[in-house]
Amino acid sequence: MAFIAVKAEHVNPFVTSTMETFSKMVGTEAKPGKISLKKNAVLNYDVSGIIGLSGGAKGVVSLCFPKASALRITNKFMGANHSDFNPETVDAIGELANIVAGNAKKGLTEFNIQISLPSVVMGANHQIMEPKDVLTFIVPFTTEFGEFHMCVSLKSGTP
């Protein structure tokens, strides 16, 4: 397989996929902010869904939420009315990450990406750290239920 350099434009399929997932599955608009490099930003979250990417590129994509927006978004997604985290919330966050990553694959056919099972992290004020030698992009999203961040790390390599 020919070598393909990873560029900022490769984040676009994840942005599009997040917008599609929210409009189709959650039933609300998710507006992306500016894509930037995450660098050494220290950002705290309360719940995060993480999916590993491999194939012609290796990477990881995460959806990271503060508690309030995580609850409101997953309640809308599931048609539930939870006031605190429970196993359903956790599943919903994992499932959202799964759909976003799965749906982004079609925009990255040159990398022939495969996705892992989701991992979900719960815990007040945790940070999600990607390998420091790899470019990581961060995109803030705004919804009527609050904000969240999507982070994408990608590194090209041999399959």
């Binding site: 050494n40 705290n44 995060s48 993480i50 999916i51 590993g52 990417l53 491999s54 194939g55 290796k58 990477g59 990881v60 995460s62 196993p87 956790v90 599943d91 994992g94 499932e95 799964n98 495969q114 996705i115 892992s116 099972l117 989701p118 991992s119 979900v120 992290v121 719960m122 815990g123 007040a124 004020n125 945790h126 940070q127 999600i128 750290m129 990607e130 390998p131 420091k132 030698d133 790899v134 790390s153 590194k155 399959p159």
Partner: protein, 158 residues
């Protein structure tokens, strides 16, 4: 109904963990009783997570209390570290990477490829897996403190 992980799928990860600690840190680590639970309530301060895909899908995580993480990273990189910094975080990710890579060789028929590592930093966080697979938790005892290995694994290949 969630599918349970099979012994033949978890063993390569347990063996890879033992081998990695033995070869790279000269440490004997002992796996404890394996549990299959959706959420165990155990909490960690630092977790390294690797996604698995290919003929099987899954994830493998190593989760540490902060003090154990610092000691393990010191042994791993060969220099004493006492404070949590980028280097410690990256080393935990690299450790998970080596364990996942080493486990691949006993899972050849699944043609597994591994993702980049992610490291979670946060006092008392909890890890959970995908809805459709019950993750397996393996506690490990080491002279430097205890940690947990968490594996989710799902395959259509018999």
């Amino acid at each position: 109904m969630a599918v349970s992980i099979k012994v033949e799928h978890i063993n390569p990860f347990i063996l890879a963990t033992i081998e990695t600690f033995k070869t790279m840190m000269k440490l004997e680590v002992k796996p404890g009783k394996v549990t299959l639970e959706r959420r165990t309530g155990f909490q960690s301060d630092l977790s390294g997570i690797i996604g698995l895909s290919g003929g099987a899908k899954g994830s493998v995580s190593m989760t540490f209390p902060k003090i154990t993480a610092l000691k393990v990273v010191s042994a791993f990189i060969g220099e004493k570290v006492v404070t949590m910094d980028d280097g410690v975080v990256d080393a935990i990710g690299e450790l998970a990477n080596i364990v996942a890579g080493a486990a691949k060789k006993d899972l050849v028929k699944y043609n597994i490829s591994i993702s980049l590592p992610t490291v979670v930093v946060g006092d008392n966080h909890e890890l959970s897996g995908a809805k459709e697979v019950t993750p397996m938790y393996v506690p490990f005892e080491t002279p430097l403190g205890n940690f947990n290995l968490v594996v989710s694994f799902k395959s259509e290949i018999a």
